[in-house]
């Protein structure tokens, strides 16, 4: 803040003020130029040798012939010249004053009109500012929805609205995630608390009762551990460390299938594979978890006598991993939402609904794409594409080594 005798409060240099001053200035300059031209034209025309002598002759004030150098004719002529010069000078002087006054008045009118016009033109900006001020993390439902022609300001407002929409979505999914995570974490706590409270409140509880309580608590702790592990894995896959190395999806898939084959047999699921080399770059532990989750889901949400097909291949500069399985028919709308955290089709089947979220998050972290499709015949098909390792190395890695590598 400036302190001093001359601290006159200047209005804030808003765009409106600047535009107004600019309008006024432009009007003043062009007006001044125009009036100068007009003034000069008038002056020039007054100077011109007009036929005033003919008029004098008609009045008989001077002889019709050449003007005399002496005598009363000459005197008249001189008087006429002097009067004419005086009149001209007076007229020009008056004109100048009138022009200056008119220019001043019109400049003031134009400044006022400019102030109004600038305000009108900038009103949408004020709306945008007001909306932006009202919007906060808790209140992202506000939109500007600017009406009017598709000009620059409308584009700005629409862009702003679009950004608010995306932020709103992101905040909503964040809130949803936190609510779900807290629900999933509180439920096992409630179970343990109730088990312990009920058992300890019973003065006649037998050793058998207490043992049962212990079993229940241990089972619930296991559940908490799995949930926390899933959440950590999701967080880790979202923030991929960038420790990338070449990995063959075929080898990783083969390992997963081997590990889960016993479970598949138990569930009565037939496992088929069509694994062609598919080298990509990535964090092997995350890629392995991605495939394991898909295979695991394929077995878990299958039906006895169903199938699980895992295929990998390289197509041009992309590698593909396709995992499809039989099972109950899934609504295509639900299938799209399966990658949202905590989204489960069947809550009784156990699990937390994090598996496919982790898969998607790994795929996104590796710059790939994921498509989920629910065929009419039942089951689910997940198709993942990642960038192929440039300059495909054809070195055949023996399976044992590949396994040792991926397990490290």
């Amino acid at each position: 803040m400036r302190i001093g005798p001359a601290s006159i409060r200047l209005p804030a240099p808003t765009i409106r003020l600047r535009l107004t001053l600019l309008y006024g200035l432009v009007f003043l300059v062009t007006g001044a130029v125009l009036l100068t031209i007009g003034y000069e034209l008038v002056r020039h025309n007054l100077n011109g040798t007009s036929d005033y002598r003919n008029e004098l002759r008609k009045l008989g004030l001077i002889p019709p012939s050449r003007p005399p150098a002496f005598g009363p004719g000459a005197a008249y002529s001189r008087i006429a010249d002097a009067v004419r010069a005086q009149l001209r000078s007076d007229a020009l002087h008056r004109l100048l004053i009138e022009y200056v006054v008119a220019l001043g008045a019109m400049t003031m009118v134009s400044v006022a009109a400019g102030w109004l016009l600038a305000g009108r033109a900038l009103r949408p900006l004020r709306d945008i500012t007001a909306t932006a001020r009202r919007v906060s993390g808790e209140n992202l439902g506000e939109r500007i929805s600017l009406k009017g022609p598709a000009d620059e300001l409308k584009q700005l407002a629409d862009t702003f609205d679009g950004m608010l929409g995306r932020l709103d979505g992101a905040f909503a999914s964040q809130r949803h995630f936190v609510a779900n995570a807290s629900h999933e974490l509180r439920t096992p706590l409630a179970i343990m608390r109730t088990e312990v409270d009920v058992s300890l409140a019973d003065p006649d509880a037998s050793v058998e009762d207490l043992r049962q309580m212990g079993d229940a608590v241990r089972e619930t702790v296991d559940r908490c551990e799995r949930l926390i592990e899933g959440l950590l894995m999701l967080a880790r896959s979202e923030a991929a460390t960038g420790r990338e190395e070449p990995a063959d999806l075929a080898a990783l898939a083969a390992d997963c299938i081997t590990d889960l084959r016993a479970r598949a047999r138990e569930a009565g699921v037939e496992v088929r594979d069509a694994l062609e080399q598919a080298w990509t770059r990535g964090e092997p532990a995350l890629l392995e978890r991605m495939i394991a989750n898909l295979v695991d889901n394929g077995i878990q949400h299958n039906e006895p006598g169903g199938y699980l097909q895992v295929s990998t291949r390289t197509v041009g500069a992309r590698v593909q991993l396709i995992v499809s399985n039989g099972g109950p028919v899934i609504d295509p709308d639900d299938a799209d939402k399966l990658t949202e955290p905590f989204r489960r089709l069947d809550r009784a089947a156990g699990g937390f609904g994090l598996g496919l979220s982790i898969v998607r998050s790994v795929v996104v972290a590796h710059g790939g794409t994921i498509e989920i499709w629910a065929p009419d015949t039942g089951g689910l098909e997940v198709r993942i594409e990642l960038a192929a390792l440039p300059r495909v190395s054809v070195t055949v890695v023996p399976k044992k080594t590949a396994r040792a590598l991926t397990q490290s």
């Binding site: 609510a179 807290s182 629900h183 509180r186 439920t187 706590l189 179970i191 109730t194 619930t220 809550r347």
Partner: protein
């Protein structure tokens, strides 16, 4: 007192049921919202312990429906979302009370007792009739100051009869309010329980049989 627990986490539901049964309540379980609503329509529950996040029919919808059709049933909402907005929303849907998970079991029991008492507005915390006193919260019965040891069912029957304040209560109603859904409706447990209750309360007899109708306190 008869309580319905609508909770999809079977472990939690069973643990609560075990604890409440030990408190002398008749407890039924409903694993989803649809089942909960069907049961709440059929049976006159004193309290419904309702998990908000139920599969099938959402807990909020169950709450609204039960509040509309069974105004006498107290609704205690359980939820894993403990934020203030959830509490306000839950209560605005017609729940009488709200308990966030995880909760202390003793608190749950105390709140269920409070709700059951609220269901009959004039009911005092301790029921008294003649020389008999019954304290539902502490599960104590005494006659002329002498404590009487009762089983859970005997206690429940006496509570309903004292609550009826001399009106006749049918055997069916006793069965509905004191026993849970696993009881055979053609059983003679009510008669047997009345018999033992009379014996334990001693003389002069206070529970009389209204032939063909039911039982009442003298």
């Amino acid at each position: 007192m008869r309580v319905l627990i609508a909770e999809d986490e079977s472990r939690l539901a069973e643990a609560i049921a075990r604890g409440l049964r030990r408190e002398g309540m008749a407890v039924d379980l409903a694993p989803d919202g649809t089942d909960a609503l069907v049961k709440a329509r059929v049976v006159r529950y004193d309290v419904l312990v309702l998990d908000r996040d139920l599969p099938g029919l959402h807990g909020d919808d169950v709450c609204k429906a039960v509040r509309g059709e069974r105004p006498e049933t107290g609704i205690l909402m359980l939820t894993a979302a403990g934020a203030l907005e959830d509490l306000v929303e839950g209560l605005s849907l017609g729940a009488d009370d709200y308990l966030p998970k995880p909760f202390r079991f003793a608190e749950l029991v105390a709140r269920i007792h409070a709700l059951a008492r609220r269901a009959t507005p004039s009911r005092p915390p301790v029921l008294t009739r003649g020389d008999i006193e019954l304290d539902p919260a502490r599960r104590l019965v005494s006659r002329t100051g002498q404590p009487v040891e009762l089983t859970r069912k005997e206690f429940g029957v006496l509570e309903v009869l004292m609550d009826a304040d001399g009106a006749t209560v049918s055997a069916e109603e006793l069965l509905e309010r004191v026993w849970d859904e696993h009881t055979d409706p053609f059983t003679n447990v009510v008669r047997m329980t009345i018999m033992t209750l009379r014996r334990k309360l001693g003389d002069p007899p206070v529970v009389e049989t209204v032939i063909g109708v039911g039982y009442r306190m003298t």
